[in-house]
Symmetry: C2
Subunit: 405 residues, 2 copies
């Protein structure tokens, strides 16, 4: 008699993506002919730079070989030029190219922490950090930030109180997904001070570096003095060049022991994809005007989305960066509302897909009324999406009222 094996505990506990879990409801709506406005996923509609797209045509060898585990030397050279523009001097040994920012975070977590160890992350945070922590066997200790403060870091003593004997790292994402919050140099200095005193790493996810508004400038963890042994920066070209499908990221640190370990993890998985690295190298030549246009466009969307949400009585603040906003909707259960939008709501043949925010919190019960909205549609579509959302909120309110919710 056959005994059927079961998946592992982590395989059972692994969370479904709250960003992707409504996918089947979306497909069903689309099959009905409904136009779904996608505000749920950080997939920019902005055109990729021609430099990147042309880069994919540069490969002309007759064999497509493995590259070095740390990345193609030609791409590493280009990355050094890219970071130099941001005032961050690096050498090749400080960088390992990864398969997207996802692999950068997974490998970094494995290299700094063992199963049972803890990492501290301000919440709400990029929901896949939960999955990465589960893969690595780590516990997430959340540091709660609040919509009322526009998701700025709380007083530093709250952060330091979370640092325990098994804490190995503080993970930051600025400009932030899902909040759009941009941490100031003072906030980062405060975190760095705790990291140095308590002997923990700071892992900074800086994939939205380019997307900062209101004339402010991104501050990198690698900019801060005295942090060479503590700072790890993870990066990706997905958002920068609107190239999420390229799956090219990197890990950057001046801590040579850490980078030596990361290289051995990198050797196990052999190398990141070769042709995508060639395209990514070409994309470093994207002219500044490309980013000026893109940032102007996102800025316009950001203001429009913010004003339209305020206009329908939704609680939200103008975010300082990235292309997301966490809004508190006038509903008790944003999960239910997000599903209802796809299954029941139709406004002039359209509906809206949003990401319920509870999946971005580690503290149970937080974010039940909140949703992440990604402004990855042009202003005309955002306007139409907001018309649809406003109608949806009104209809949902009366429906739910009628059902006693």
């Amino acid at each position: 008699m056959a005994r059927v094996p079961e998946v592992s505990s982590r395989g059972k506990a692994m969370p479904a993506s709250p960003i992707r879990k409504l996918h089947s409801l979306c497909v069903a709506a689309q099959n009905e002919g409904v136009h779904v406005f996608h505000l749920n996923i950080g997939q920019p509609d902005i055109e990729s730079p021609v430099e990147l797209l042309r880069g994919y045509r540069e490969f002309s060898d007759s064999v497509l070989p493995y590259g070095p585990s740390a990345g193609l030397p030609a791409y590493l050279k280009k990355l050094i030029i890219y970071y130099e523009r941001w005032g961050i001097p690096l050498s090749e040994r400080d960088i390992l190219v990864t398969t997207g920012g996802s692999e950068a975070i997974i490998l970094t977590l494995m290299a700094v922490a063992d199963p049972g160890d803890e990492i501290i992350i301000p919440e709400p945070f990029y929901t896949n950090y939960n999955g990465f922590a589960m893969m690595a066997g780590l516990t997430v200790k959340p540091l709660t930030t609040r919509l009322e403060d526009n998701f700025a870091l709380p007083p530093l003593d709250q952060l330091e109180a979370l640092v325990g004997p098994r804490t190995r790292a503080i993970v930051l994402c600025s400009p932030g997904n899902p909040t759009g919050a941009v941490f100031t140099r003072e906030e980062l200095d405060g975190v760095a001070d705790i990291a140095r005193r308590r002997g923990v790493f700071v892992i900074a996810d800086e994939v939205y570096r380019e997307f900062v508004y209101d004339g402010k400038k991104h501050v990198s963890i690698l900019d801060l003095p005295g942090m060479d042994e503590h700072a790890v920066m993870v990066d990706s070209i997905s958002k920068r060049y609107s190239a999420c499908g390229a799956r090219i990221g990197c890990i950057v640190s001046r801590n040579s022991g850490f980078m030596n370990s990361i290289l051995r993890f990198g050797q196990a998985r052999l190398c990141p994809p070769t042709v995508d690295q060639i395209a990514a190298a070409a994309a470093v030549d994207t002219p500044p005007e490309y980013f000026e246009r893109v940032i102007e466009e996102y800025d316009c969307r950001r203001r429009l989305l913010h004003q339209r949400l305020l206009g329908m009585g939704v609680d939200c603040k103008l975010p300082g960066g990235a292309f997301y906003m966490v809004a508190r909707l006038p509903v008790a259960d944003a999960d239910h509302f997000a599903a209802w939008l796809l299954t029941d709501h139709r406004h002039e043949g359209t509906t809206v897909m949003i990401a319920p925010a509870n999946g971005f919190y580690a503290t149970p019960g937080l974010g039940q009324s909140e949703a992440r909205l990604a402004y990855v549609l042009n202003c005309g579509d955002i306007d139409r999406a907001m018309d649809s959302l406003a109608a949806g909120l009104e209809a949902y309110g009366s429906t739910m009222g009628a059902h006693g919710r």
Copy 2:
């Protein structure tokens, strides 16, 4: 006073790749103008099919977006056609496309086992399984196979004796890296019987499916009856299409609970690279004549390498598949010899790079005199490489003799 954080225990213990660890010595030799014959790495010199290379030029959209976490639907359809040719009927939900075979194995191990669990692997085995097990927090229990038996599986009671309460899976690689061994249907049936009775998964790495010689045919774990709940197959296009740099692999299983878990792991890392999947889909149209030529070429190399090694008194058997061979060299320490070849040995301006085999064993002390040789050079180069190796063995013998080793 700053406290410097340390890397994790697994970050310290993570093994350097025995295949790649001699890289710096190789670069130094090349900088001296020495021609290094690479027998150390499974990077085929065979040209990639034009279908694949042209596939990279098919992408013509203006945005490079995320794909679905399970893979592009168009590629999944092509994979079903590919496996159908091998007599393996599948549906789309049985497949998740991965970033190379490496990611396929890592995600599979995480989905079947928790930290502290065990997996059984016949040794010598593909050395990176060690790294993947370490990432996942698993212990490898090796089942030793021997050169004398041409690395066939030992009697099944030896395998069953290794199955304990924490054993979650048996990992097989056939055709095998590093041994070239091809397991028979009888051997696989025996393993399957144990897996069913003991309730453990069988994870079969079948990336060398095409490369079987002497008129034999590869047997897939998915071919065996009664194994739908137990069998997981991991695959990659790296060797099939000589496309190691594409980083496209997949996980295949008819166990729906397992595939559901794998999809959630897959969602965390978002998706495999988009353009590489388009190229991989195009490559499924590679005509059978391509493989006939390639297999004829490898077969010729295999016989030549085997004869030349026997001719210089090296102990080895003719392998039945893949493009590797494990040979026992007349040296006490193949690690030292492999380094010496790069640093000290010059034969008509050439030397040879080999992979010491001790890194392919989990049992300490095994494989000290053995090396893996990959026949990824054309016959002329294999002949010249063997001239250089023969001269090296002779010189090393007298040098080491003189030094009392």
